[in-house]
């Protein structure tokens, strides 16, 4: 299971839902090994599963070469509520969007979020091909395969075209990605690395053309985190030579890894699943948020067996404090990867569970 505080929040909400028995009767589709992923059909929504997300992250540079990070996520949650009665306001499927921008000139994140019931043109995620939307936010594959990513928040907006240069990378066992020691803790998970991004970025009303490199994660499941998990560290990197790396670990409360997983794509296009023992995260430097007091390991030494990388953030303050609204507090931002002191890759790093355990239900819709 990948990354994201919001994702954790949704998982906890789904867990609460199951505990409450509200969704007991709901027959969620299971995640089983051996199911082949078919494209473009599997790029679309899987409404029979409980939870699903499309996660776009990347680096953008304007004409002056200023680097910025961006992120756009769509979540889909099957609540199991009101499925027996159709209607425009049925809460059976909920859609949530989250967008963020890391701008070193500002020194902190700009971000925005939206949630709505899936309904017509207001919000939804289409099965069969990549298409998710909420209000005027949109993530959609076009006929030529390019993906449109569009979102706007307070003081920022982006409208990007993400052109794929390669086929999706299936994580885990051909897309069956385990998240814990027990096989039911698993998801279907693939990544599209090396997306060529181009388009417009608007900051405080000033529009600039930007280009860069992006990454799409798509994951769906009906299960939640294994017991004992308090958070995770995740990184996705696009190497300058065309290679790509996804590595993550799920932490227990003592800080040790409950589970580790990763996928390495070589510059030549061959991919292989990294064995858990090969992946090691070692914190090099911490940054304490002056706003929340949470201490985040923002710089890492990441060992993936064949080689080691040092991860350095685009800026230290990429904290997302959503405790007042969503209840989640986490760090999610653009990072550079250095090998032997030389920058070799750009990507995104996510650190969750450092701000204490999320309280059950807090900040979820309806509260």
């Amino acid at each position: 299971m990948g990354r994201g505080g919001l994702r954790m929040l949704w998982l906890i909400a789904a867990l609460a839902l199951a505990l409450a028995g509200a969704a007991e009767a709901t027959d969620y589709a299971p995640v089983t090994p051996g199911r082949p992923l078919v494209f473009p059909a599997d790029a679309g929504a899987h409404p029979e599963h409980r939870i699903e997300w499309w996660y776009v992250t990347g680096w953008l540079e304007d004409d002056d070469g200023n680097p910025r990070g961006f992120q756009l996520t769509f979540f889909r949650l099957r609540t199991g509520i009101g499925e027996d009665r159709p209607g425009r306001f049925s809460p059976a499927q909920l859609i949530s969007g989250h967008a963020a921008l890391s701008d070193p000139a500002l020194g902190r994140l700009r971000h925005a979020e939206k949630s709505a019931r899936a309904s017509g043109r207001l919000a939804g995620a289409t099965a069969g091909h990549l298409q998710a939307w909420i209000g005027d936010w949109r993530l959609e594959a076009q006929d030529d395969g390019a993906i449109i990513a569009r979102a706007a928040g307070d003081g920022f907006a982006f409208d990007l075209r993400l052109a794929p240069s390669r086929a999706p990378t299936l994580n885990g066992d051909a897309g069956f990605s385990r998240k814990g020691p027990r096989p039911e803790h698993a998801s279907y998970y693939y990544s599209v690395s090396g997306l060529a991004a181009s388009g417009r970025l608007t900051l405080d009303g000033r529009a600039t053309t930007v280009r860069g490199v992006a990454w799409l994660d798509h994951e769906w499941s009906s299960e939640y985190l294994p017991e004992g998990a308090v958070g995770w560290d995740w990184v996705g990197l696009n190497f300058d030579d065309g290679g790509a790396l996804m590595a993550a670990r799920i932490r227990q409360s003592d800080g040790s890894a409950l589970w580790r997983f990763g996928t390495l794509r070589s510059a030549h296009g061959t991919t292989r699943e990294l064995p858990p023992d090969a992946i090691s995260f070692e914190a090099l430097r911490h940054w304490r948020s002056p706003a929340s007091g949470v201490n985040y390991p923002v710089s890492w030494r990441l060992d993936v067996g064949d080689f080691a990388l040092v991860l350095e953030p685009l800026m230290d303050d990429q904290e997302l404090d959503g405790r007042a609204s969503t209840g989640a507090i986490y760090w999610e931002g653009a990072v550079r990867a250095l090998r032997d002191g030389q920058p070799v890759a750009r990507g995104y790093l996510e650190l969750t569970g450092y701000g204490g355990r999320l309280r059950l239900g807090e900040g979820s819709p309806g509260r």
Partner: protein, 830 residues
């Protein structure tokens, strides 16, 4: 000297304890009533406004549809409109609690869209309930505002069973709506409400927040093309003003009642001050003789009035605040009239209002003391010390023409159109009639005296005195006239109203049995299958089904009721008033719509049905005492054809010969165990309606009684004053050989004659005021007409009793005069 004078004047008030107490009480009554009405209105309106603002939240614009809702497909188009930043859909229904008569307002909302538009409505789940995190989407959970939770006595975790369209719906109270304190509302998931309360695919309204820079006017214009007929765009402020306006006339009427009480209080101060001035003539003459100026004497007397007014004002403030608190607790903010149902206003005793009413009390006291003070100032010291001249009240005022002039002006005032829905001209006419009546009293007293036979002797003396000094009688009779005029006006108006309502009920309730679903709400309706089964029950000869809805005809006026029922082409089933025509596509409008929309028979009227406007022709006007905001009636078949809506809200059942209502009621209960239908007889509806009517007029009966008491107290005070001034005259009469009894009879006759002229004037003025109330005030305030009816018998009894009581009061007051010895009384005349 000042201290000494204070003892003479203000101290004098304490010596005349009974009279002062009466004056203080009368002013206190007026102030208390006025302040209570003001405080209750303020509290109700403040809570009403606060509630509306909470419910509307930060909305810049509201799209409101009929009570039956509009197609929820509109929401998507509106929410995605470029001028709209956020949109929040609401289904607003009234639901009935199973096994009780309680109804509650349930708002179906989308919790994800509330925070941006109506943050005050965001529900908070109770931590104890199981599905807290997704509680906002719960299909079986309900959130209660604190006020509603208190009223229903339900805590989180407890069950609440509501009558839904599919039978009893068992819900769990899963939390509260902390943002709405005084409003009794429940919040549920919009999807759940749509399905449970027959609103599937429908919305009641959409509240909008606009993008920065967009004005509500521009957005209204831009959205107009999207809106189906019957859905109007308005700002929450306009909506608030529109709804508050409905109760404005009612509130002003209550305030007018309080003003009348205050005027009566002023009259009493006048009477008692006149009395005390008469009694203290010698005292004043002495003070004048030792150098107290004319003006200063008058000022001290005015000061006495002010002290009485202040005491009354303060007492009235305390009473009024207590009364307001009691009423708010017991009846709610509209004294049970139904304008502010569902809110629990809290008393907010504003110092400004209190100060204003204390000032009004002082003003009443000073105004009452004005004339006696002027008269006292006019006393010539030498003459008064010698007591050669008559008493100060004896001089007949030179009022000749103002009386008739007032009556003419009153007629003109009646022709004034209402100002902002308030019948200002009507109130002015009432005041002018009263003034005209009082000013014409001297003439009337002379007339009454002249038409009275001169035997026996005491009556002859009384008659002669009244003819010789009508001004004096006029003063005494003024209180009687004012109070009896008000009492008679109220009595005639209420009788006319009650009689008309009674007749109207007979006309609108022709069937033997009425069956209805939940009160005034679209939440529970008679479906076609229920309708068929109802019609097929044994004993049913004919069923007329009726459908109700609330339509937005015009953004300027409050929603209008739509009623559809089987009707003949000429509308003969309706309580029609005025001319009516036979039209191809008829609609009959209530009198309110005649006033509000300026419509007349033959005019066209666009009625939005099922999102499309249809052109009807106004065929006639009917009288409606229920829906003050206006109602229109269309034939049921035509309504069903145009709207496609086959539901009904209630049924009027005509029984087959040989069947009775009780058996049918039992059969209905047996046939529909799940849907909790209410079966009532027209007699029961009539009883209930009239009970409600009587309750809402109870406060006027109270005022009538108070007015009459004040009038009688005025007679007693005036006669005590006259008796005090005429002690020498009585002594002389005793010397001339008249017995005590004969003098008592004379005073009684004077009192009776005075009261009779007052009562006669009161009857005439009261009858005229009643006419103004019926034809102008009610018509302009509430838009309903009624048939003028005079309850002759009870009014005659009232007048006779009043005259008898006045005679008694005069005798009692005169006893003081008769108590002294004849010798001493004469010897007072040095």
């Amino acid at each position: 000297m000042r201290r000494g004078l204070a003892a003479v004047f203000v101290g004098g008030l304490l010596r005349r304890r009974a009279a002062s107490a009466l004056s203080v009480l009368a002013i206190a009554l007026g102030v208390a009533l006025g302040l209570a009405v003001q405080l209750i209105n303020d509290a109700a309106l403040a809570e009403f406004g606060r509630g509306m603002r909470t419910l509307a939240g930060d909305a810049d614009l509201r799209l409101a549809g009929p009570a039956s809702g509009f197609d929820d497909a509109l929401f998507e188009a509106v929410a995605l409109h470029p001028l709209v930043a956020d949109a929040s859909p609401v289904v607003d229904i009234e639901a009935r609690v199973v096994g009780g008569d309680t109804t509650l307002r349930v708002l179906g909302v989308d919790v994800l869209r509330l925070p941006a538009v109506q943050p005050g409505l965001v529900p908070r789940a109770d931590d104890g309930t199981a599905d807290a995190p997704f509680a906002g989407f719960s299909q079986h959970g309900i959130f209660l505002s604190p006020a509603l939770a208190g009223r229903l006595a339900r805590a989180a975790g407890e069950a609440l069973v509501l009558q839904s369209s599919a039978g009893p719906l068992r819900l769990e109270v899963i939390g509260s709506v902390p943002g709405v304190a005084g409003q009794a509302v429940a919040v549920m998931d919009i999807h759940a409400v749509q399905h449970a309360f027959a609103m599937a695919g429908r919305l009641s309204r959409i509240d909008l927040r606009l993008i920065p820079g967009a004005t509500p006017e521009a957005a209204s214009r831009a959205l107009a093309a999207l809106l189906p007929a019957g859905v109007v765009a308005m700002t929450p402020q306009a909506s608030l003003a529109r709804d508050a306006g409905l109760s404005r006339a009612y509130r002003v009427n209550l305030t007018m009642l309080a003003v009348i009480a205050l005027v009566c209080g002023g009259f009493l101060v006048f009477s008692t001050q006149a009395l005390s001035v008469a009694r203290r003539r010698a005292e004043f003459a002495f003070l004048r003789a030792i150098g107290l100026g004319r003006r200063r004497l008058a000022a001290w007397l005015l000061g006495e009035g002010a002290v009485l007014g202040l005491a009354g004002g303060l007492l009235g403030c305390a009473l009024g605040t207590g009364f307001a608190a009691l009423v708010l607790d017991g009846f709610g903010g509209d004294l049970g009239a139904g304008y502010f149902a569902g809110i629990a206003p809290a008393l907010d005793a504003s110092p400004a209002a209190m100060l204003a009413f204390v000032a009004l009390g002082v003003l009443a006291g000073v105004a009452g003391a004005w004339l006696p003070a002027r008269r006292a100032g006019a006393i010539s010291p030498a003459a008064a010390l010698k007591a050669a001249a008559g008493d100060p009240l004896a001089a007949a005022p030179g009022w000749r023409w103002p009386g008739p002039l007032c009556l003419v002006l009153a007629t003109a005032a009646c022709l004034m159109p209402p100002l902002a829905g308030i019948p200002v001209g009507g109130y002015l006419a009432v005041a002018l009639l009263l003034a005209g009546g009082v000013l014409s009293l001297g003439r009337l007293a002379r007339l009454v005296a002249a038409s009275c036979p001169a035997v026996p002797l005491p009556l002859g003396l009384a008659r002669a005195r009244l003819q010789a000094a009508p001004g004096q009688a006029a003063v005494a009779a003024a209180g009687v006239l004012a109070s009896s005029a008000l009492a008679i006006a109220m009595a005639v108006m209420v009788a006319s109203f009650r009689d008309s309502v009674d007749q109207w009920l007979g006309k609108v309730l022709p069937a033997e049995v009425y069956v209805r679903a939940a009160r005034g709400s679209p939440a529970l309706q008679l479906t076609p299958s229920v309708q068929q089964r109802l019609a097929a029950l044994p004993g049913v000869a004919r069923v007329d089904f009726r459908r109700h809805d609330q339509l937005n005809l015009d953004a300027r006026i409050a929603p209008v009721s739509l009623l559809a029922r089987p009707l003949s082409a000429d509308g003969r089933e309706l309580p029609l008033v005025g001319e009516h025509i036979v039209a191809a596509d008829p609609v009959w409008i209530s009198e309110a719509l005649v006033d509000l929309l300026g419509l007349a028979p033959g005019d066209g009227l666009d009625v939005p049905l099922a999102g499309r406007a249809h052109r009807f022709t106004v065929a006639g006007v009917w009288r409606d005492y229920v829906r003050q905001g206006g109602a229109l009636m269309v034939p049921l078949a035509r309504y069903r054809e145009l709207s496609g809506d086959q539901l009904a809200n209630d049924a009027a059942i005509h029984l087959a010969p040989g069947h009775n209502a009780a058996d049918l009621g039992a059969a209905i209960d047996e046939a529909f165990p799940a849907i909790d239908l209410e079966v009532v007889s027209p007699g029961e509806i009539r009883r209930r309606s009239l009970r409600l009517f009587d309750r809402s007029f109870a406060v006027t009966y109270l005022l009538e009684a108070a007015a009459v008491l004040i009038g009688l107290a005025g007679i007693a005070a005036s006669f005590a004053a006259m008796a005090a001034a005429r002690r020498r005259e009585f002594g002389m009469l005793r010397h001339l050989g008249l017995g005590r009894r004969q003098i008592a009879a004379m005073i009684a006759a004077e009192g009776g004659l005075t009261a009779a002229s007052g009562a006669l004037g009161g009857a005439l003025v009261g009858g005229a005021i009643a006419l103004v109330l019926v034809e102008v005030v009610n018509r302009q305030s509430f838009h309903w007409s009624m048939d003028y009816r005079v309850p002759w018998l009870s009014l005659s009894l009232f007048v006779v009793a009043l005259v008898a009581l006045a005679a008694l009061a005069a005798v009692l007051a005169g006893r003081l005069a008769m108590s002294g010895s004849a010798v001493r009384a004469v010897s007072e005349d040095w």
